[in-house]
């Protein structure tokens, strides 16, 4: 049979038309779709077995329980620990992306001296020279750790000074320490027993203190209720995240917090709503009303609301005596549901002086929040895992990152009870990094070893037979057979909590009503985020959504 050109064309058209009714083109389309989704440059997740390890978060001083999922030795996800009695499974939004922080583009991999690449030998030489020439201040952001003992020991042996640079939460307890003589490091907030919490701009629902502690409590006792078990009154000029969810938001003029506190104090005293005696503010009710933008009647009603359901506790984001004095008036200092003494031992720390120019050099530990680098003319040795930009200091020294360092985690600044945990180095420490304690230990080999210090602390906990170890099931310390087993449990992510009761013997001597100090409005990122950079995924909260504003300091 002769096949003409016409037959060929008809045949081809028929095959083409027929193909549409077969699965072939659709299968090919699907295959092309799959093929084009598997380019070699698209990363493939590891296929290794996943194991879960428990630890304690070290990104800030809160010490949240951390569950880390690991695949092929790398962290692939983090979540909270539900059995942790303080955090109850909660983490801050930043914590959930923290496992990616070690690969952040701003991770420090080299020693930098005034912006240029240097070496550890040069840094060590410069530090040794500084120590020989004059007093050096060793600055710690989280006192009470084993590493803190190393820093303190070095300062003592080498004619230097051990100083602390604390977060705003720790500083906020300062006024009570000044009035009572009890060190601020011994004080905490007994939130669990408070029935009214009055916050002057404190981001209580936005990461303040230990994330999860107050938010869980608020969720269980207050959220959505018209007459809640726990009343949260937020006094703030702007409608913050906490103000939006509070039982009452009292909108005042910016910077008038102290005036309103004075007005409330007048009503509490003059209308005999409190039993306490003591100084009264000089400010009249009319002046308080004029400054705050509220009416005298509104201030009166607010004072009655605060006094109505007690214990009532006032919380400020920073040290602010003019507002903290309300707690003295309400009898909240040293009382359940107020400011309580959480430990028996006095830990007196001296804050780094505002003018630190008298030192030859400052050695700043990586635990010091990035924004707390002092402006000084002296040589600064700054340890950090990430470069936060801006005022970094003369020497920028790469420190171990997230999960890369063995450290112990003492009590969180706002906690009402003593706690202790151990954060294991789940990842190998990169060779190019050193912590401040490691460098100082290299300069002076007689300094104690962190591992041994942690071991000693566990031994002390075991000997004291106080408190409970919280793991899957809580176990009283008294029931442990040996210090070794107790330490083992802590190294596996358990946390020790001192649940023994202490006497709250605090007397506050306030001679006159404190003068007003300026309160800065809280940033949109709420409470202290101490790492210099945010996890990449947390950037979604402001880049890819309108939920938050970009943190200003990121581009500093």
């Amino acid at each position: 049979m002769k096949v003409s050109r016409r037959d060929l064309l008809i045949g081809s058209a028929g095959v083409t038309a027929g193909l549409i009714f077969t699965p072939v083109p659709w299968k090919l389309l699907g295959d092309v779709s799959i093929w084009t989704q598997n380019w070699p440059w698209i990363p493939q997740p590891s296929q290794g077995p996943v194991e879960t390890k428990q630890s304690v978060c070290t990104l800030c001083a809160a010490g949240c329980g951390l569950r880390v999922r690991m695949a092929e030795g790398w962290p692939v996800g983090v979540s909270g620990v539900g059995t942790n009695p303080v955090t109850k499974g909660a983490l801050c939004p930043l914590g959930f992306g923290a496992h990616q922080l070690n690969w952040h583009p701003r991770r420090l991999h080299e020693v930098r001296h005034r912006g240029r690449t240097s070496s550890w030998d040069e840094a060590q030489g410069a530090l040794e020279k500084a120590c020989a020439e004059g007093p050096v201040a060793i600055v710690d952001g989280r006192p009470g750790r084993a590493a803190s003992s190393v820093l303190e020991g070095f300062a003592a042996k080498h004619g230097g000074n051990y100083r602390v640079a604390l977060s705003s939460e720790s500083r906020a307890l300062g006024p009570y320490a000044a009035w009572s003589g009890v060190a601020a490091s011994r004080l905490g907030y007994d939130l669990e027993n408070a029935q009214t919490v009055v916050s002057f701009g404190t981001p209580l629902l936005d990461g303040w203190g230990t994330p999860g502690r107050f938010t869980r409590m608020w969720s269980e006792k207050a959220a959505g209720a018209s007459d809640p078990e726990l009343r949260l009154i937020q006094i703030e000029a702007a409608l913050s995240r906490t103000a939006a969810r509070a039982w009452r938001w009292v909108a005042i003029r910016e910077g008038s917090d102290a005036a309103l506190a004075a007005g409330i104090a007048r009503v509490l005293r003059e209308e005999r709503l409190v039993a306490a005696k003591g100084p009264l503010p000089q400010m009249s009710m009319e002046e308080a009303a004029a400054q705050s933008g509220l009416t005298g009647q509104a201030i009166r009603e607010l004072a009655h609301t605060i006094a109505e359901k007690r214990p009532a506790l006032v919380i400020t984001p920073e040290a602010n005596p003019a507002i903290a004095a309300l707690n003295v008036l309400l009898g909240a200092v040293g009382a359940p549901g107020g400011i309580v003494v959480r430990n028996k031992k006095a830990l007196e720390h001296i804050a780094l002086e505002a003018n630190s120019n008298s030192y030859r050099a400052l050695v700043i530990d990586s635990s010091v929040p990035w924004d707390l680098v002092p402006r000084s003319n002296v040589e600064v040795f700054r340890f950090a895992a990430w470069d936060g930009g801006g005022n970094a200091g003369d020497w920028l020294l790469p420190a171990p990152g997230f999960l890369e360092e063995l450290t112990d985690v003492p009590t969180a600044p706002t906690s009402a009870t003593e706690t202790y945990g151990i954060a294991m180095n789940l990842l190998a420490q990169p060779a190019e990094t050193k912590s401040a304690a490691q460098l100082l230990g290299k300069i002076d080999s007689t300094l104690p070893d962190i591992e041994k210090l942690i071991h000693t602390r566990c031994e002390q906990l075991f000997q004291a037979k106080l408190g409970t170890i919280h793991a899957e099931q809580p176990v009283a310390v008294a029931k442990f057979e040996s210090a070794k087993k107790l330490e083992e449990r802590l190294r596996n992510g358990a946390v020790w909590i001192d649940d023994s009761r202490h006497a709250n013997s605090v007397r506050c001597a306030m001679k006159e009503w404190p003068a007003a100090t300026r309160v800065l409005p809280a940033a949109d990122w709420g409470a202290a985020w101490e790492a210099p950079v945010l996890p990449a995924l947390a950037e979604k909260l402001y880049k890819e959504s309108n939920l938050r504003d970009a943190p200003a300091r990121r581009e500093a």
Binding site: S79, F96, Q100, S219, S545, L547
Partner: protein
């Protein structure tokens, strides 16, 4: 018996912290996008939006509403328009599944979704050098040019199913299947469970008088329920969620 997994999100408990968004992205290997990404071009399978009562000054009130795929039960709009069968409703779980390997990126589903809960991958998924080691092994990475959305952490469902199978059981234990956003919420605002089980807490909460569903009037029967005692939150949330957000952010 087939399950109907769903949620009841208590808007009175949501503080808008964003932990659910970050946990969702980490669990599902959602990449952080380039600087030029915006709220419109971003990848946020779980997105917390702000609501306001529209007033100013001391009268202003704000709340937060987490929006993810609603897993519509009835006439699921995305399923109906997809030319590639890249979206399916799993009959045994009720989960609306996105199958990126089949997706051609036509974005009909994004247009059809009344909840704006679908996202297009405008960029290649990329991580800074080394960060690919931190990817979740249970979830594959999606390519540029495909649509993605909340799959109710399907990898976690698989893990729960494998665990049940290993124990010789046909049904999973619900405690073994908790989506990342539910696990992450610090206030416990997101309740997750089986809506088909009348005794399940989520099912009971979904039937409460405070409970409602977004755009219930269009009859898609979403499996994500919301709950609030505040009338204004309910009124605002039940508008087009995008419009509520735009009003807030201008």
């Amino acid at each position: 018996m087939s399950a109907r997994y769903g949620m009841v999100i208590d808007l009175d408990r949501c503080t808008g912290c964003g932990a659910c968004m970050v946990a969702c992205a980490a669990e599902n290997n959602v990449p952080a996008l380039p600087e030029r990404a915006t709220a419109r071009t971003g990848l946020t399978p779980m997105l917390v939006r702000k609501l306001s009562n529209g007033k100013e000054g001391a009268e202003r009130r704000e709340a937060f509403i987490p929006i993810a795929c609603m897993h519509c039960e009835h006439e699921t709009p995305c399923v109906m328009v997809c030319p590639q069968q890249a979206v399916e409703v799993d009959k045994s779980t009720g989960i609306v599944m996105q199958i990126p390997q089949r997706c051609l990126g036509c974005r009909y589903c994004m247009t059809a979704c009344p909840y704006h809960a679908r996202y297009f991958n405008w960029w290649d998924p990329q991580w800074p050098a080394g960060m690919e080691k931190s990817l979740n092994p249970g979830v594959s990475v999606r390519m540029r040019g495909v649509v993605e959305k909340c799959n109710l952490c399907h990898a976690r469902l698989h893990a729960a199913q494998e665990k049940a199978a290993a124990a010789g059981k046909k049904e999973i234990e619900l405690k073994d299947y908790v989506p990342a956003c539910v696990e992450a919420c610090p206030t416990g605002a997101i309740l997750f469970g089986n809506l088909a089980d009348e005794k399940d807490p989520v099912s009971i909460a979904a039937r409460s008088t405070d409970s409602f569903r977004l755009l219930a009037r269009i009859g898609t029967e979403p499996k994500i329920h919301y709950k609030t005692t505040q009338a204004w939150i309910r009124a605002q949330a039940d508008r087009n969620p995008d419009h509520s957000s735009e009003a807030q952010h201008g």
